[in-house]
Amino acid sequence: MSVRPTTTTDGALPNAMDQGPRGAPGDARLVALVAAADREAFRLLYERYADRLFRYAVLRLGDAAAAEDAVQETFLAVWKDAAAYEGRSSVSTWLFGIAHHKVNAVVRGRARETPLAGEALAGDEPGPDREEPSDERLRVLAAIRSLTEEHREVLFLAYYQGLGVREAAAVCGIPEGTVKSRLHHARRMLAERLGEGEPT
């Protein structure tokens, strides 16, 4: 199947020449294959994004079981609606946009926000893509946990996923100014709680 060039209108570069790691298909190519019901492409896309989407969901929900459900729902939506991807944003932005809505559905279904659970942060065994949580990192996680769910989300998207303001705004469905404002407040609160100097 031929896939259109993967330029995006949000300024993101989805994948130079649409090549993945070690010559594997790039993200946009994988989504096109998934739209043609290619199960191997679906598995590759899952392997490429499952960990990041899971961490995003865990950070927002504070509940590993709910995060698993949200990630499953995200990928089921990808399998069903991959043809809807038009290449106007990077695949990463598109995927996190779907995950944003799936996590929102979980949040709406709750009577109140569940605190970010310790067990969700502790996890089981360290995986190949997981670093050991030092005391310093646990302290930072605790500070992140104390933020609101909205502030945790923009911190994750900007600092961990590396999205720009425009992409983060597209994922969350909010104006770019709101992303900047949330990021600014999140930084200030985080710096206060960590005792780090933060210019006002």
Binding site: R55, E68, Q72, L121, G127, D129, P133, R137, I144
Partner: protein
Amino acid sequence: MRPEPEDHLERMVRAAVQTLPPAPEVLWAELEGRHRARAQTESEMPAVAAMCLALAASALAAALRPGDWARRPLDLIPSYVRAWLPAFRST
């Protein structure tokens, strides 16, 4: 365009988030299981739809008999057919 140049706080956040657990290994297996179940349900839809139409037609024909006018048409559809209705709405 990045919101701000990478700084100490950003590096701290990234390092901390990196310690969160990755997706559990069972997640893919569960996802495949749910995908197969949904695919099976959807493949059965045409046959179930034909059965529902036949039963609905039969129920409506029954509703046209004198004496049945007071009954609500949905009550005439067997419960096991009504149980499929949410599945149709979600596809």
